[in-house]
């Protein structure tokens, strides 16, 4: 599947890439080009197949595809997994910009530094139980550690 088709995959409705079921290939190509440009996807062209991209580049493309559609809610799992440092920073920035613009963004990640950077509120999943979300700015490392250990940080005696 080419990058254009990949962009069409989830962008069809929100980006209005079809009219009465008939596809607007020109618009789809424009959308794919915008993703490649804004998220610095390294590829010879949008007609290349998605599987020919490296893992990090594909990740940038997929995350970019969703962010550029300006969704109201975005749930993203490991958004910077396998992506180089510079690109990871730009993905995080894009997520924060999206949230700034009023969208609800749920970021699931194993990268604590990343979460501390992007999140307003943080919750930890431990043994299938999600802790109460806390304001990230109020948390310190010890409290996060306790949350990870299964202890509700609020229960911790000061």
């Amino acid at each position: 599947m080419s990058l254009t088709e990949n962009a069409l995959l989830t962008g069809n409705v929100r980006q209005k890439l079809s009219v009465n079921g008939f596809l607007r290939w020109g618009a789809a190509r424009g959308f794919a080009r915008a993703i490649v440009k804004e998220f610095d996807v390294r590829t010879p062209g949008i007609s290349n197949s998605a599987k020919s991209l490296s893992g990090g580049n594909l990740q940038k493309f997929v995350v970019g595809r969703e962010i550029l559609q300006k969704p109201k809610v975005l749930v993203v799992n490991q958004p910077t997994w396998g992506v180089d440092a510079a690109a990871a920073a730009s993905i995080r920035q894009a997520l924060m910009n999206l949230a700034e613009a009023g969208a609800t963004v749920v970021v699931i990640s194993q990268d604590l530094d990343e979460l501390l950077e992007v999140s307003d509120r943080l919750a930890v999943l431990n043994e299938g139980r999600l802790t109460k979300p806390r304001e990230t700015s109020e948390l310190n490392m010890d409290e996060i550690g306790l949350m990870m250990g299964g202890m509700e940080a609020s229960n911790v005696p000061a």
């Binding site: 599947m1 989830t10 596809l23």
Partner: protein, 357 residues
């Protein structure tokens, strides 16, 4: 030693070249086959592939043979692209001919221009209904549509036998197991429209189907969903494709097209319903679909090539006295070589020196 190496992007050049290569390989292997039968191979290939193109009659017969093949293959290709394998087009072809034919015979001897369109609709519905059996069983119980659709071919064949020796038997036909002749019933016949060209209504429908299929597959969201499901069913579900709807739609389209092909065949070239009516178009169309790369234009060309082997094969039986089975072997080899050289469009061959230990 050589190795196959996966291409990052499948080669557009090889995708177009492999069918041609397969035809050439079939000609060469066929040459050996005919040589083994004690015939002159060059002569045999010429009789099969060249002679039919040189005579006006056989040239017109090419469209007659190609029309049902292409019509059925177009429908099949949509399902095949989505990974839904309708192998029973032969059964849908037969059921279309029976149900459309039965509607026509029910009105005998009323004349009217409305009759043939009504019969065509009934034929499409008959094929559609027959294809819905594997579709619904697959959706509801997860049965394998390959087996169910294939098995239903034999049910349809026997149903045809029952109909032509029972309800649809020609009352003035001296008890022969065959229906009235549609060719003698003007309103229900599908005549040659332009003398000497072989063009009948089915051929016109075939051209329309090629164009519509091209638009659906390349310009419509349905085609996109079909392609997507074929390449990655998981991704398709994430993108909001309902696989059950796709199963019903692709099997339905191929069944309806096969049914109409059957109706136009029985009212035109075949002339009447008999137990000899099914000649395997539904099965040969599978080869046509693959030879044409599941692409509407490719299928059109592949249908013409396949029609050529039918007509040339008949000529070879006549002129060279080769057995009828030889031509079936020939068509089978075509699919075999096609699938073999197909590897080249997704892999490249790399020579590697044997490593010394």
């Amino acid at each position: 030693m050589f190795q196959l190496e996966l291409r990052p992007n499948s080669s557009a050049l090889w995708t177009a070249v492999t069918p041609v290569l397969a035809v050439i390989a079939t000609m060469i292997a066929g040459g050996f086959l005919f040589a083994a039968l004690g015939k002159d191979p060059v002569e045999a290939i010429r009789v099969i592939f060249l002679d039919p193109l040189l005579q006006p009659y056989t040239r017109s017969q090419m469209l007659v043979k190609a029309a049902p093949l292409i019509l059925i293959a177009i429908g099949l290709s949509m399902g095949f692209k989505a990974g839904i394998w309708n192998i029973g087009a032969e059964g849908q072809f037969i059921m279309g001919a029976i149900s459309g034919g039965a509607v026509g015979l029910a009105f005998y001897p009323t004349q009217g221009a409305w009759l043939l369109p009504l019969m065509a609709t009934a034929g499409a519905l008959g094929g559609f209904a027959w294809a819905m059996i594997p579709a619904l069983l697959k959706i509801k119980y997860g049965t394998n549509e390959i087996l169910v659709s294939l098995m239903l071919v034999y049910v349809a064949t026997n149903f045809l036998g029952g109909m032509v020796s029972g309800p649809l038997r020609n009352p003035e036909g001296h008890n022969f197991p065959e229906s009235r002749s549609f060719q003698d019933y003007a309103s229900a016949s599908n005549p040659e429209l332009f003398s000497g060209t072989g063009i009948h209504y089915g051929v016109l429908l075939m051209f329309a189907a090629v164009i519509v299929a091209y638009i659906i597959m390349n310009r419509h969201i349905l085609g996109f969903q079909i392609n997507l499901t074929g390449q990655s069913p998981r991704a398709a579900r994430f993108a909001g494709v309902n696989p059950n709807v796709l199963i019903a739609v692709t099997l339905g389209i191929s069944g309806a097209l096969a049914g109409m092909a059957g109706l136009f065949e029985v009212t035109g070239p075949a002339g009447k319903l008999t137990t000899n009516f099914p000649v395997g178009y539904g099965f040969t169309a599978i080869i046509v679909a693959f030879l044409g790369r599941l692409h509407p234009v490719g299928i059109f060309l592949a249908g013409l090539v396949m029609a050529l082997t039918y007509i040339g094969g008949e000529g070879a039986q006549f002129v060279l006295r080769v057995p009828a089975a030889a031509i079936s072997v020939f068509q089978g080899m075509l699919l075999f070589f096609l699938l073999a050289v197909d590897v080249l469009s997704n892999y490249r061959i790399r020579w590697v020196r044997k490593e010394h230990s």
